[in-house]
């Protein structure tokens, strides 16, 4: 009985989870906005601005977002799951975080939960004009969350005499997650060195096209550290294979520069210095020799 005074303390600690309130609408709004403004991809959005009513009582993947980790060197995924309320089963919204860039499973798994709220109903989500909008009721109160997604692009616009423009919320503006790792020269993962040369065999091929004009493997030219250049190989309408690095096309033992597809015969499709001739190498690339 000497410790009978500790009883209220145990009682209080036991009650703590009960005392902890559900996440409020404003908290959910802020937590998602603060994270999702950096989203670089939004996919799997099956319903656009319609209330999700089926299947009742079951969890479903509503959408997935690709997000940069702090520093921007890798990506993670946010998987958004919704349970349509059914009888006694409350509706819920759950966001799970995948620490890699793989696709979200159809139902939530054993992954860290970023946010989870119960009592969600009348949930609808839309993505228009690069703004994500979620409308729903939370504990019968209407909620609307609007999040701009400036990092999402929907293609490029090429207009004569004009600079490049992308289709995005504010063309030319992006939000980043910088830290010291972002600027670490030593850990630069982009492809190629400045000294790489096709003629020395050190240039990295970032995009390969085969004789059927199909892309073989992944196009990684966006990851070239010092830009990329195209070579003349199979005369494909969409262009030839590409290599990372400084362009020395036309020079001795370097690839011929593309001369175009409409004003010269295929045998003249490569440009070499006037004292060199374009010759096909083993990979069917025109090389100046």
């Amino acid at each position: 009985m000497r410790f009978h005074w500790l009883l209220p303390l145990f009682f209080l600690l036991a009650c703590r989870p009960v005392m902890k309130k559900e996440m409020s609408g404003p908290e959910l709004d802020f937590k998602l906005s603060e994270e999702w403004i950096y989203a670089t991809e939004l996919s799997g959005l099956k319903y656009n601005n319609e209330v999700i009513t089926r299947p009742p009582g079951f969890e479903q993947l509503v959408m997935q977002l690709q997000l940069p980790e702090q520093g921007g060197l890798s990506f993670k995924k946010h998987c958004v799951y919704y349970v349509v309320p059914y009888k006694e089963k409350a509706g819920s919204l759950k966001v799970q975080e995948l620490k890699n860039d793989s696709n979200c499973p159809d139902v939530s798994g054993d992954f860290p939960v970023f946010v989870s709220v119960q009592g969600v109903d009348q949930f609808k989500v839309s993505f228009n004009s690069f703004k994500l909008t979620m409308d729903f009721t939370l504990g019968k109160k209407p909620q609307k969350i609007e999040i701009p997604l400036p990092n999402i692009e929907a293609g490029l616009i090429h207009e004569k005499y004009r600079p490049l423009k992308e289709k995005s919320l504010v063309p030319g503006l992006k939000f980043l997650r910088l830290n010291e790792d972002t600027f670490d020269f030593a850990s630069n993962k982009n492809l190629g060195k400045l000294s790489d040369r096709f003629s020395r065999g050190s240039a990295i091929r970032c995009h390969q096209v085969n004789k059927e004009c199909e892309t073989v493997g992944e196009n990684r030219c966006d990851e070239c550290r010092y830009g990329w250049y195209e070579v003349v190989d199979f005369q494909c309408a969409q262009g030839g294979s590409k290599f990372c690095g400084q362009n020395h096309c036309g020079e001795k033992n370097e690839p011929a520069c593309p001369r175009g597809v409409k004003v010269v015969d295929p045998e003249d499709a490569g440009i070499c210095q006037s004292d060199l001739e374009p010759v096909l190498n083993a990979d069917k690339i025109l090389v100046c020799q």
Partner: protein
């Protein structure tokens, strides 16, 4: 009395603990889930997003922004600029943001200065100095802080507004060739998205390379200040020029693409003409219409009339500035490597035969005195210790 003490002491202790824990949990709960706090946090985030749009507007508008009108005098004084320059160079230029951070008043945010770079409020970000994934463009990264909440946001402004898209069509390289002398050297850029720098690379741009590029490639280069900031960078060797362009993921201008962007097409509607007839002057289709005009070619004669500045003449049909006159311009010429220099410049008077598109001299790319150049016997009649050689970059974009 003893019993009372035995009873009251634990009760008081218990009550004290309960009250303390109650206050602690209540406070923690209030801190953690108080909706007002999140409403304020979201408002701060929204303000930062709004302010980033304003900074982006300033970035794009440059000299046409209202902010430039307000800070111009202080900015020029701070930078030590006393001579006129083409203020359109302020578009997509971090120098303007630097002045905005220093002199614009009543801002609701601040641009966070970088101690390691003399408090510059930005870094130039490229794929060569950063592994940040999925950055398609190069540009300026900066951190802004909301003054009210101290919340911060990192933003990125893409550096693409000083480029022009080269229309997909058939072009020709070099000086016009008579049919009897053989075929013209024709090429096309169909299915290719080529972007050309509209102006020569400035010293301010090279400063950013020196600050944020790999030291291995910029060793020995000194940052320029004052009036030099908006003048072309003319003291880099050819390989340094190549490396500068590579820093930005580009390549030094190819001679035949410079020709494409400067020879005026006879018929803009005809994308593949039978022959690429062309005049040696970018402003006219007629070879006979040469004019000695400083608004068309900044030649030696113009030095007496107005000081040289970048973008001193009208743009070519494709939007290329300084395609004739001014400083020399170096190219990479994959067809005739020895013809890699636009000699049309202020080193030759307006009557010089160098003032023709497609007619090029040679430069060994290593030095700047006469012996490093090949003027094909048409040497300039000037006593110059060091010729000024500018350059610009170009790139291909994938769709």
């Amino acid at each position: 009395m003893k019993n009372f003490k035995r009873f009251i002491v634990p009760v008081l202790v218990c009550a004290g603990i309960l009250a303390g824990l109650g206050i602690f949990f209540y406070g923690q709960q209030k801190e953690g889930t108080n909706p007002d706090r999140f409403i304020q946090e979201k408002a701060a985030l929204s303000r930062l997003i709004q302010n980033s749009s304003e900074i982006h507007r300033l970035w794009i508008e440059g000299e046409e922004s209202r902010e430039w009108g307000l800070i111009k005098a202080e900015c020029l004084k701070h930078l030590g600029i006393t001579e006129k320059f083409d203020e359109s160079l302020l578009r997509c230029n971090p120098v303007l943001l630097q002045c905005h951070a220093l002199f614009s008043k009543n801002l609701k945010y601040r641009m966070v200065g970088l101690e390691e770079f003399d408090n510059l409020p930005y870094r130039y970000l490229t794929k060569s100095n950063s592994s940040y994934r999925k950055l398609r463009e190069v540009g300026v990264a900066m951190t802004i802080e909301d003054l009210q909440s101290k919340k911060r946001l990192d933003i990125f402004l893409e550096d693409q507004c000083q480029e022009v898209y080269l229309e997909e069509r058939a072009y020709a390289y070099g000086e016009p060739v008579d049919i009897k002398d053989g075929d013209d050297f024709r090429f096309d850029n169909f299915n290719r998205h080529i972007y050309l720098d509209s102006h020569l690379v400035t010293n301010a741009e090279v400063n950013d390379w020196i600050r944020f590029g790999n030291d291995d490639f910029t060793r020995g280069l000194k940052e320029k200040t004052g009036n030099d900031l908006f003048l072309p960078a003319t003291t880099l060797t050819y390989s340094q020029m190549e490396n500068f362009c590579s820093f930005k993921g580009k390549q030094i201008m190819l001679a035949h693409f410079f020709d494409a962007a400067t020879f005026l097409p006879m018929d803009l509607n005809e994308k593949i003409p039978k022959r690429n007839l062309r005049s040696p002057y970018y402003w006219t289709k007629k070879s006979s219409e040469y004019k000695s005009d400083c608004a068309l070619i900044y030649s030696k004669d113009c030095l007496k009339k107005k000081p040289y500045q970048l973008n001193s003449i009208d743009p070519s049909w494709a939007g290329i500035r300084d395609s004739m006159g001014g400083v020399f311009e170096a190219f990479r010429n994959p067809i005739d490597p020895e013809s890699n220099l636009k000699a049309s410049s202020f080193y030759f008077d307006s009557k010089s035969s160098w003032h023709k598109l497609g007619f090029r001299a040679g430069w060994n790319g290593e030095g700047f005195d006469l012996r490093n150049f090949d003027f094909r016997g048409l040497n300039p009649f000037v006593a110059v210790d060091s010729f000024q050689v500018g350059f610009r970059c170009m790139r291909e974009v994938m769709q």
